[in-house]
Symmetry: none
Subunit: 201 residues, 4 copies
DNA sequence: TCGTAAACGAGACGGTACGTCGCGTCTTTAT
DNA sequence: ATAAAGACGCGACGTACCGTCTCGTTTACGA
């Protein structure tokens, strides 16, 4: 990357930090590029030079936050996977409980809501979010479901990419719209319903 | 409503039409109150007098659109319900297919995406949207599921308010994020998975 | 003027005052439209709405200053003329001495230098300055010279519009370029040279 | 000049050419240092290293242009003088006609107007312009007038430094403000008026 | 003859001001 | 008397240049 060579790492850090802080403190709509630049002690042009929009800055800042958090948790970015203890229901419940915790973390809450909202309305950004943020996680679910399928714990005809939506989408939806309690009991229930269905057996 | 007495029905109509048209034509972010006023041939103050924000205008315009559309389809606003032919799967599939059609209608697409996005980020608006737009529909699903429960087609312990999320949320999520095909085959599959679960029976 | 009816007199006054003050205090190049707006307690748009450029603001402010100054001196704007005591040389010397005083007044100095400079480089503005600022004064000189011509104090073939340049232009030029002393002695000399020529009589 | 030893002659040429071309093509205010650097194929720092401002560059570029033009006309830079045929009026008229031609040359017009304007507003630059650009020419007029004085063609008491302003300043003023025709007839008239005065003899 | 230090091109950087857009409020004009 | 029309103070937009500051890369010197 000869183009990026001259890029100032210090400015980039400061911009990420400022963007995340502002979104958390005053909310996404009241966060402005001027505000980010001022808080980061950076010229506006330095932002416009490398990012195309407020949402773009936030997306990268958020991805960076994710990486740093993961690294701080001792994980290499690559070796993430859903545990496979042999008990599919337990494994899924555990992961969803962790997701609940994460979505409630105030450092994540504001930026990810903002990105979700913006992605709904800006198709280009939406595609980026799906590709960089969502897809990797969904892939992990799909992998785990396929393993369960091989182990005979899931019916052979089931499409894992659709199956995972049965618990992932309701969770996302409740979080986005805070329509109802958002807790471990809920996610546990979701897994049970999804695995065993609604109809009598 | 004595306060609303003096309100001009003609202006209101013009404002609704302008708002919906602009959101469809140029998108929500580029739709402005000034633009709506100009297009409606109305003073800005007339908008500010009755609505508190761009989103507020759009929400009411959209509710009005829904009512007019329903009325045009010959239904009284009150007697909407999910059909009950006795075959739960078939009934749900039919309703979801109709939902797919509606969400694809360009007249609905732009405004409802805009509202969904704005609601994620603006809690006050989010509450309004849930209450006025979503809740009524969800109630219909819950009613139908309860009927099925009474008929023994759904296990007794199942909570209908969670159960309905198994097919409604994935649908909503795919539509918001256009992550994958959005068609009848998909909704049919969703109903099957939800009713009969993923695990072998 | 139906268009100007809505114009705020208070803002206009504040803008004129701010513009003149800033040009005097920090100089024309460092005077900015933002600065004027801030000092006047006015939105930038209010300036851009009514004037096309910084120079345009300053020209009008300066014309206004001239009018107010004249009115404060008790004169009606219309009845300005060069005195005619019968002694042409004395009359011209008196007027030029007054001009020297005015050009040295710090309230006039900065704005008029700025306008002169800008007019040299911006033809449109230059035309305005000549028409509104210079031409009226030059006309007075021409009138006085014509009267002298009728009285036989100036040769019949002389073109008054060129003749007046013999003393007016050197004065202006010295002022603009401060090349040399700028005082009563100088202007008196100018009048003598111009009236009686350089060659022996 | 040990300091200037390493200075690149090629860059200097390119910068002069770019500066003059840009001022002519797009005008002084829209000419920028970045623009000059880009057009000259030179880094900005190379300009900042040797000149202190846009005006400074232009002044040197213009002086250089003058030297090159004079050299191209076959003259040594030093032996410029106003001809002395014994007929003062004729000599002055001839020189002023040449000045008219030069001031109309488009290669000179734009840069010299720009410098004149900037010099009015920037005292430091104004002093430089007077010293390097104007003073030498004025000195030639003063010399010629003194010679005429010695020859008895000008009254003994006349101050040549003021006398020359009678025709030089009006010419400069008309050119700066294009208030009126700028031609041979005008300059001839100026010389006549200046030499023989306005009053009857 | 070859290092080495300068000058160089390129262009990122922290800034300031630009001229525009839209906000929400307030005032005027014309029904 | 009630709106439309639109001026107002304000704040942010995205852009253009400013003058400073690294970056490698020539380039010409003097050791």
């Amino acid at each position: 990357m000869p183009v990026e060579k001259r890029r100032s790492a210090k400015s980039r850090r400061a911009i990420y930090d400022a963007a995340l802080a502002l979104v958390t403190e005053i909310g996404y709509p009241r966060t402005t590029i001027e505000g980010i630049a001022a808080r980061a002690g950076v010229g506006k042009q330095t932002i416009y030079r490398w990012w195309s929009s407020k949402a773009d800055v936030l997306l990268e800042a958020f991805l960076d936050l994710g990486e740093r958090t993961a690294r701080a948790a001792g994980q290499e970015p690559a070796d993430q996977a859903i545990p496979d203890t042999g008990d599919l229901a337990a494994d899924l419940k555990a992961v969803l409980r962790a997701t609940v915790d994460e979505l409630r973390d105030p450092r994540f809450e504001a930026p990810s809501r903002a990105l979700a909202a913006e992605g709904v309305v800006d198709p280009e950004l939406g595609r980026l979010i799906v590709a960089k943020l969502l897809e990797p996680s969904l892939q992990l679910y799909a992998d785990r479901l396929r393993a369960a399928q091989r182990a005979g714990q899931i019916r052979p005809g089931i499409d894992p990419r659709i199956a995972l939506e049965l618990f992932v989408s309701p969770l996302a939806q409740r979080w986005l719209q805070h329509t109802a309690p958002f807790d471990y009991e809920y996610t546990d229930t979701l897994v049970d319903y999804a695995l065993y269905g609604l109809a009598p057996r």
